[in-house]
């Protein structure tokens, strides 16, 4: 096999061209260093950012930043690094100004000011946050504008290249290797600093987002720490029921985000509103906004099933004027999404959206992929513990309160990308040309193409589906025996993963994704087993209490000599002088209403 080989030398290498990666690229380039951005899709179209550009959290001057931060920190079960949360919220207004400068448009009021809304945070009506709305919502056009700003500065882009490993020398990161996912050519990047901004990952069934697990896994292999890996978020999706709905249309996002504010109810098979049983249900008087927050739902739905009252549904009959409310909120901007819905409805022979809201409708609730909340551990300057390696966006410990959904995760991407870019450029300016170990490059290249050489083995699709079956079985409602079975099952799959086969370069890309996804869900299962309490997005059936006496700890994962090592580390509330501290004692999140 003779393949083309490319060697690219630069100051700062950025992995991933989403919101975090592009912010980092622009900031590093502005600081006067050479920047190359690598993406495995066409940059600007890939990743989760184009889809997420619907709602952005932002604190305007004069807003109560303490209050916004507390909401995020409380949501994270006090796992959030409070320095990072304050940085993200405190700088959010400046980042929105950056976006405006680059030509990103936002919805405006009649008088011309930016349309903003202070809303309840999803977890509790006690905490608020402010939202701004890019216009049109959820379209790649915004990312293309940011990319255009980067191109204007002279940032270089390398598209359709997947990076599989970082190059290290004397404990420092000095570059990365990868391959072209269409032509197969080998790429070697020499860089003084690397920013990983490749997003978080999810599982089949078909996931919403395109990013893969490789970014997180390659940082771990290069010596970075992962943190909060037991946190997992099961996203929901509405699925067509009785012919009215269209599961999978972009409009279904709006059902979940707004429907609940406007009277959608969640009911079990008998038509009972099950969330009302819980004291938690009382925390949101007058509204039923459980939307983005599956973790509140899952145990409740599970109980309904155990009592023989499943499946559970979204009952839309309570918000007959939903359609008008949505129009009012989004002016003309939702028409595009409406056209999508109607087109898909026509393909499937179901009702157009204008009709859906006229009939007493029900949508059943589907799973929308299980995202891992944890990620690469960074400090407030987006540095990892490996010199020369930075990380930004959802590839970092997003669960740590900085992200509960599209809105605030974008805010986090902007600020973390901004800081990673500035600091990586500074690092690159102060360090000499990297020295790459050619033997290491040869070894990594051999490993990279190995699945193409094998004659027989497991396909990446089969491996991922097997991982998904094990993970959904153990990870939605966790308990000790399920998790132990999962660890066992994933160990068997690791043997299979050594025999992945690819029939072409497209499949080679999937092989790397599957292998790394398996490795990270394995870490997820092992850390879940260790955390014997429920906190944040981690719910243990056998330990349902949030234990603030013994478990105000982070679980930190390192890879030492090929072995996963997990240590519990006290959260430094005292040491760092953090403002917000949880109440002591054991707290039952799932108290029934008296």
């Amino acid at each position: 096999m003779s393949l083309s080989e490319q060697v690219v030398a630069t100051d700062v290498l950025i992995i991933g061209a989403g919101a975090a990666g592009l912010f980092a690229a622009i900031r590093a380039k502005e600081a006067g260093v050479d920047v190359v951005v690598v993406d495995k899709a066409q940059s600007g179209f890939g990743g989760a950012s184009p889809i997420g550009m619907q709602l952005i959290n932002c604190a305007f001057p004069g807003d109560d930043i303490d209050h916004f931060a507390l909401g995020v920190i409380d949501y994270s079960g006090y796992l959030a690094d409070q320095d990072i949360v304050y940085a993200i919220i405190g700088e959010s207004y400046d980042r929105i100004q950056d976006l405006l400068r680059w030509g990103v448009e936002f919805m405006r009021e009649e008088k011309g000011g930016m349309r903003t809304q202070i809303t309840d945070q999803p977890y509790s009506a006690e905490y608020k946050s402010r939202l701004v709305y890019p216009a049109p919502p959820g379209r790649p056009v915004h990312m293309l504008k940011i990319k255009a700003a980067a191109l204007g500065l002279g940032v270089k882009f390398v598209d359709r290249v997947m990076l599989t490993d970082l190059l290290t020398s004397e404990g420092k990161v000095v570059g990365a290797v990868g391959f072209h996912t269409q032509q197969g050519g080998f790429y070697q990047f020499k860089a003084k600093a690397v920013v990983v901004a490749s997003g978080t990952f999810s599982l089949p069934p078909k996931t919403v987002y395109y990013p893969g697990a490789t970014g997180m896994a390659l940082a771990l292999r290069a010596g970075a720490e992962l943190i909060n890996m037991e946190q997992g978020k099961l996203f929901k999706c509405e699925r067509g029921h009785r012919g009215q709905g269209v599961g999978g249309s972009s409009m279904s996002t709006y059902f979940s985000d707004y429907g609940e504010w406007w009277g959608t109810r969640y009911v079990n098979a008998k038509g009972e509103e099950f969330m009302e049983k819980y004291e938690l249900g009382q925390r949101l008087p007058g509204r039923r906004h459980w939307g983005p927050d599956w973790r509140l739902f899952i145990p409740a739905i599970y109980r309904e099933w155990k009592e023989g009252k499943g499946p559970c549904y979204m009952d839309l009959s309570g918000c007959a004027n939903y359609w008008e409310l949505l129009r009012k909120l989004y002016d003309g901007y939702c028409d595009d999404h409406v056209r999508e819905w109607d087109y898909l409805a026509a393909v499937r022979g179901t009702l157009p959206i204008s009709e859906v809201w006229r009939v007493p409708a029900e949508l059943s609730i589907g799973t929308g992929g299980l995202d891992i909340g944890g990620g690469i551990r960074v400090n407030v300057d987006s540095e990892t513990r490996v010199p020369g390696l930075y990380a930004a966006g959802t590839v970092t410990e997003t669960c740590a309160g900085v992200a509960y959904g599209a809105a605030s995760s974008l805010t986090a991407c902007f600020t973390q990308g901004h800081r990673a870019g500035i600091n990586a450029a500074k690092y690159a300016q102060n360090h000499p040309e990297p020295v790459v170990n050619e033997e290491e490059v040869k070894r990594l290249k051999r490993e990279l193409y190995a699945p193409l050489e094998r004659e027989a083995g497991i396909t990446p699709d089969d491996l991922l589906a097997n991982v998904a079956v094990i993970v959904y079985r153990s990870d939605v409602i966790k308990n000790e025996s399920r998790l132990k079975r999962a660890v066992e099952g994933l160990r068997e799959l690791r043997e299979d993963a050594a025999n992945l086969v690819a029939k072409d370069y497209h499949y080679l890309r999937k092989c790397h994704r599957a292998k790394d996804t398996l490795a990270l869900y394995d870490i997820n299962a092992r850390t879940s087993l260790i955390r014997t309490e429920s906190r944040g997005d981690h719910y243990r059936e056998d330990y349902p209490l949030m234990d603030n006496d013994d478990w105000l700890k982070w679980l930190v994962v390192r890879l030492i000599a090929g072995k996963i090592q997990i240590t519990a580390e006290e959260i430094p509330f005292e040491g760092k002088g953090w403002k917000h501290r949880p109440k002591p004692g054991k707290i039952d999140i799932w108290r029934l209403k008296e």
Binding site: I51, G138, T181, P205, K206, I458, T459
Partner: protein, 97 residues
């Protein structure tokens, strides 16, 4: 999943360019859905369909591609069958060509 009308396709390649999951490939002067299994076809992707300048792309429904209902989340055997997962973890793959 996109369906490409080869009579209309003029071979500009914009669909291949925009697809985030590398589903569409150009073969000569025509676009083909090369890896249908990787099309996410959910939420607001449909980039190929919107990008095509001559409306040669339409949508074919592919229900397996959407999602598994929550009802199935606790019905593991059914779920496995629905996904076509072999119960044996070691399955044979086609050798590379």
């Amino acid at each position: 999943m996109p369906e490409i009308d080869l009579e209309l396709c003029m071979g500009c390649g914009v669909c291949e360019y925009v697809c985030p999951n590398d589903v569409i490939r150009m073969r000569g002067q025509k676009a083909y859905v090369e890896y249908p299994e990787d099309c996410v076809s959910i939420r607001n992707c449909w980039l190929c369909l919107k990008a095509c300048p001559v409306d040669a792309i339409s949508w074919k429904d592919h229900t397996d591609n959407i999602r598994i209902e929550f009802t199935a989340s606790f019905a593991w055997e059914e779920r496995k069958r629905a996904w076509g997962v072999s119960t044996e973890s070691k399955s044979r793959a086609r050798p590379p060509t």
